[in-house]
């Protein structure tokens, strides 16, 4: 484990009053955000650091939408497809994404409500909000990434 990661782990553990269980999801979130996935090696390291059995870590991390064991080459754009977004054309955007899959510089995934219904159709990229999406905006985004 690199020193900077170890420092960060210690910092998280300290913030949560040295409670390893309370620190588990925050540490998993940190690795996920840094590396885009959580590798088997990292799980071993986390297990050793927090003294929590590996199988328990697997159990937790496979439960949540935003934690992943799979390495991804590209960033993931989350598109909400719940009622308020559907009413504002989320389906057309998803269709465009599906049809142009090969041309995209990012992956995309349908997700559930992200609390941006007043800016529907909405999405998240790097956990930052994308409001009032349109096919035009998706095209622009694709060029920027």
């Amino acid at each position: 484990m690199s020193d900077s990661i170890k420092e960060k782990f210690k910092e998280i553990l300290e913030y949560y009053d040295n409670n390893p269980f309370l620190s588990l999801i925050p540490i998993l979130n940190f690795i996920q955000d840094e590396e885009g996935f959580i590798s088997k090696d990292k799980i071993k390291e986390i297990s050793k650091f927090l003294n929590i059995k590996e199988n328990l870590i697997y159990e937790t991390l496979t439960f949540y939408h935003f934690l992943s064991l799979e390495k991804k080459e590209k960033k993931t754009l989350y598109i909400c497809k719940n009622i308020s977004c559907l009413l504002e054309g989320a389906e057309e955007i998803l269709e465009y994404l599906r049809e142009n899959k090969d041309k995209l510089n990012f992956d995309f995934k349908e997700c559930e409500c992200i609390g941006l219904c007043d800016f529907a159709p909405a999405g998240l990229l790097d956990f930052k909000p994308l409001k009032n999406l349109s096919i035009e905006k998706i095209k622009e985004l694709n060029e920027k990434i």
Binding site: S23, I25, I83, S84, L86, L87, E112, G115, C117, F127
Partner: protein
């Protein structure tokens, strides 16, 4: 006459801590700690106010606090900022624009139950708001509203943020506790309730963002005065997330029981968007059965909506309808709602895990016209009976209730 908003919470919106203090911020905290008001008196005041939880269930807040045992060394307060009920975004507004009000509310509430540490469970979807809240906490620490011996009293308090990892079910309070304990978000069987056995087994109160933000206001104006706002069983204001086919979507603050659902749509939302036909309104997030256009002349409060067979839940009003002659598109909306429950069922209880998939299958068949609507309703009714009261939380049951209700109310549209 056009109805407008009634502002209590929105009045406390502030860019930074100075602005909040200028608006009378932290005076309630000063009153509680400065006047040495005993914790029981604070709970009493909240009971008098009639405040009910704003997260969905509408449980009386003061009563919830009074279940916390007086003895015992450690207690926790958790602010539930995991609003995930589709259509809900009102807590986002408080977290962004009134974080100081929330912080003040959390300190007073923690004092009432004598908790030294409290947590904000922030949904990962709102990670972009993390810095805003973190900064507000830091500012409050620097001024001395958080830390040791707050305002010269013997009360110590710290607030920490915990970011979730994506799971609707973690908004359910016991699933939230499991998640904080590093586990998958499985709701616990109750009893014991969190007030006795909460985070790591310690007595814990879990309150919604908006609920906690009402506390400084109650202390400021007094419980009795607060109870006169709104109607007897639904006191105070509520933040409404208005979305769907209205012209002006957004978060509005309304006085409970004083404005009808139709007025919310027409006066605050400025009516239905052009070229759209109104089909109905979901009054409290997608777990709430829909109201038909002729059922929306009721006031917005807990009781009136329950009387109509639905609920105000998290205060999310979704106005839905169709363009041109695409009435049957309604099925798409219903399918997305059912798919939501199917995806978000945590898998702990069999009736929900299997039942939500079965309901999804029935809808697929109705879409392909392989199953008649009447037949679908019958099957869902059987499924509903096998879920009712048999699961650790109401997720699966909600799925059955709304599907049945949609199919019954819109059988003509969906034919």
């Amino acid at each position: 006459m056009k109805k407008s908003e009634t502002l209590l919470i929105k009045k406390k919106y502030a860019e930074n801590i100075d602005e909040y203090i200028q608006k009378g911020g932290f005076l309630s905290l000063k009153k509680v700690l400065g006047d040495r008001i005993p914790p029981e008196k604070v709970i009493e005041e909240v009971k008098k106010s009639g405040l009910r939880g704003r997260g969905g269930a509408g449980f009386p807040t003061g009563l919830k606090w009074s279940f916390i045992p007086k003895d015992g060394e450690k207690k926790f307060l958790i602010c539930n900022a995991d609003e995930g009920e589709p259509g809900t975004f009102k807590d986002r507004e408080i977290l962004l624009y009134a974080p100081y009000l929330l912080i003040e509310g959390m300190i007073i509430s923690s004092y009432a139950i004598q908790a030294e540490v409290s947590y904000i469970y922030l949904r990962k979807e709102y990670k972009w708001i993390y810095d805003r809240i973190y900064k507000a906490i830091k500012e409050s620490e620097e001024i001395g509203f958080l830390g040791k011996n707050i305002l010269g009293s013997s009360f110590n308090h710290r607030i920490k943020i915990f970011v979730g990892a994506g799971a609707y079910i973690c908004g359910e309070e016991t699933a939230l506790l499991e998640s904080m304990e590093g586990k998958k978000g499985f709701p616990r069987l109750k009893p014991p309730y969190p007030a006795n056995c909460g985070l790591f087994g310690y007595p814990t109160v879990i309150n919604n963002v908006e609920t906690l933000s009402n506390i400084p206001i109650i202390i400021e104006i007094g419980g009795d005065n607060y109870s006169k706002i709104g109607v007897p069983k639904s006191t105070g204001t509520r933040l409404i997330s208005l979305s769907g086919i209205v012209k002006k979507k957004g978060v509005y603050e309304i006085e409970q029981g004083k404005i009808t659902v139709r007025e919310i749509i027409e006066d605050l939302g400025e009516g239905i968007k052009e070229n759209y036909h109104l089909l109905g309104v979901i009054p409290g997030g997608i777990s709430a059965p829909p109201l038909l256009p002729d059922e929306i002349d009721i006031t917005y409060d807990f009781e009136s909506i329950i009387e109509k067979g639905s609920m105000s839940g998290s205060g999310a009003i979704i106005v839905f309808g169709y363009k041109e002659d695409k009435k049957r598109e309604l099925l798409k909306l219903l399918k997305s709602a059912v798919k939501f429950f199917k995806e978000e069922s945590c898998g702990k209880c069999t009736p929900c895990r299997e039942g939500t998939w079965a309901i999804n299958d029935i809808l697929e068949k109705i879409e392909k016209r392989e199953t008649q609507i009447g037949e679908g309703i019958e099957i869902i009714d059987v499924l509903h009976k096998r879920m009712k009261g048999l699961c650790a939380c109401p997720l699966g049951e909600s799925c059955a209730i709304i599907t049945e209700s949609f199919l019954k109310k819109y059988s003509d549209v969906l034919k």
